[in-house]
Amino acid sequence: MDFSLTKEQELFLQMIREFAEKEVKPIAAEIDEEERFPMETVEKMAKLGLMGIPIPVEYGGAGANSQLYSIAVEELSRVCATTGIIVSAHTSLCAAPIYEFGTEEQKRKYLPKIASGQWLGAFGLTEPNAGTDAAGQQTTAVDMGDHWLLTGSKIFITNAAYANLYIIIAMTDRSLATKGISAFIVESTSPGFSVGKKEKKLGIRGSATCELIMENCIVPKENLLGQIGKGFGIAMKTLDGGRIGVASQALGIAQGAMDETVKYVKERKQFGRSIGQFQNTQFQLADMDTKIEAARWLVRLAAYKKDMKQPYSIDAARAKLFASETAMEMTVKAVQFHGGYGYTREYPVERMMRDAKITEIYEGTSEVQRMVISAGLLK
């Protein structure tokens, strides 16, 4: 068993850290404050191949794997959780399902645009009445002979307003329940497709989270992803992969909060010495560090198993559950350590605390992760 990073991973870490530090961190507070989608960062990431890390070179990707992808999302999120989720939603929820479930023709048509970052991708599953219970889909897709007609709306869609391509989950046969759900590849320019209102959020405020509206939206026949009636499985498997992304994001947020806290307690002086010299601080830091490291290895393990083509659904659920709850706990502690300063926007920890919360919610709430994990135990 080898737990050390490979040389490629070390080189990648060097690059992504420098990129995060120089290109992402300086605007993190600003895009949060202004609720601005950092398109310029997406363009920079596209140039380097960061928008298609695990996609093979023949499809326009960088030809790396889930482990590098996970490290990328972690390091980006360490300084800006918004940037982390842009990459994660794009890669795990759009590029990955096309690569894993698409026909050769679909892959050739869409992956080069997506994996190169020329196009941004998104994923539409959640509806006003179908959140955790994803089987309650209201969006319908009707076979019109030479095309599909999609009708319905999706909410809380990450990257929505800026995406060019969406994976949309819709009912093709309501009588079959989950077996009547199918997946589609939908271009943003499709007739009848539009983006609705943008959500005002607590955290990850730079990411564009919007409603998608399909009114008699025409989708070409060949854009059915996978087989008809297999959409629910595709969605669930896609979310398994997505959870590695969100877990990496949560891990990054936790680490970022830890970095800030360590820096602060060394500098901040009270009662004549730095607060890092108090044993209460030291013990808490030790506990925080231990939890983050535990989260890191759960995340790495899930990514490793995915790369090894082993079943990883439960590993991804564990990683996401633990990393997201760790992120929440660490950021609350980081704010506490920073005292009054931590509550102000002058320091980044309050932003990290707001950003952390979503990791316990999206791509399967912590409760869903517990369902997945316990189902594995009790089957």
């Binding site: 040389k7 690059m15 380097l48 590098l68």
Partner: protein, 262 residues
């Protein structure tokens, strides 16, 4: 066009800290990086490559670990990488270093040789011009920017204390470039994936045709006689005095620190 870029792996001197009690340097945990000026030189070469087409070779002299900066260069987009390493090269000062590098460069085709102006661990700015001399090439140092006519002619902006100069020189030539000349690109993800799959050529003493007496410690006219640190920071002094006296105290200190002549 063939471009050779000489790069060096250096400790990140901005990360070096002094032990506050002993005043000695803490070397552990200091990351090794590609020297910033050299990285800027590599970027200049890559820009020429994508504009005019060029074959880029990077070469570094150093221990086996210097392999890493060559991998980094591969991940940035160079075509060939050479690690010049041999015990006989060890302990070299700038002249002996330039002898070894010039020996290796003679084995290569080049129209343009690029080096960084200086390395952050030594700050000497000597190796580039010394290589140029050994190879009998014209040199332009302190380069801030360069243009190429696509044939033979380089038009170069050279930084000076008062401003800049525009100079012209034909290939083959050597330039030493400033880190402010451009912003080096990041390694690409695919470049990183392939960096360790490519070959780094190991060149040893036998591969270059240079007299052993011109290399390493033997070939170095200069030696370190002794080295020392500036010492630990002593507790500051606080004065509560009249303004005139305060000004005098400050002036005394500035003289001590060579900020003003006294």
């Amino acid at each position: 066009m063939n471009i050779v870029v000489c790069i060096k792996q250096v400790p990140d001197t901005t990360e070096i800290r002094l032990n506050p009690e002993t005043g000695t340097m803490i070397r552990e945990g200091v990351p090794s990086i590609m020297n910033p000026d050299d990285k800027s030189g590599l970027e200049a070469a890559l820009q020429l490559k994508y504009k005019y087409g060029a074959h880029i070779t990077v070469i570094t002299m150093g221990p086996a670990q210097a392999d890493k900066v060559l991998r980094e260069a591969y991940a940035m987009g160079v075509d060939r990488a050479i690690l010049l390493t041999d015990r006989k090269f060890a302990g070299a000062d700038t002249l002996a270093t330039s002898n070894a590098l010039a020996g290796a460069l003679r084995m290569l085709d080049f129209d343009l040789i690029i080096t960084g102006r200086q390395a952050i661990d030594g700050d000497t700015a000597q190796v580039g011009p010394q290589i140029a001399e050994h190879l009998d090439l014209p040199q332009v140092s302190y380069v801030e920017g360069l243009q190429y006519d696509g044939q033979k002619l380089f038009t170069i902006k050279k930084s000076t204390e008062e401003g800049y100069q525009i100079v012209e020189v034909e290939a083959p030539c050597l330039i030493t470039i400033l880190s402010s000349a451009n912003s080096p690109r990041y390694m690409s993800v695919n470049g990183i994936v392939n960096a360790y799959k490519r070959e780094v050529e190991i060149w040893r003493f036998e591969n270059i045709n240079i007299d052993e007496h011109k290399l390493g410690l033997k070939g170095s006219p200069t030696r370190v006689f002794k080295s020392f640190t500036k010492g630990a920071k002593i507790a500051g002094q606080l004065y509560e005095v009249e303004a005139v006296e305060a000004a005098d105290i400050i002036i005394e200190k500035l003289k001590e620190k060579f900020i003003i002549n006294g």
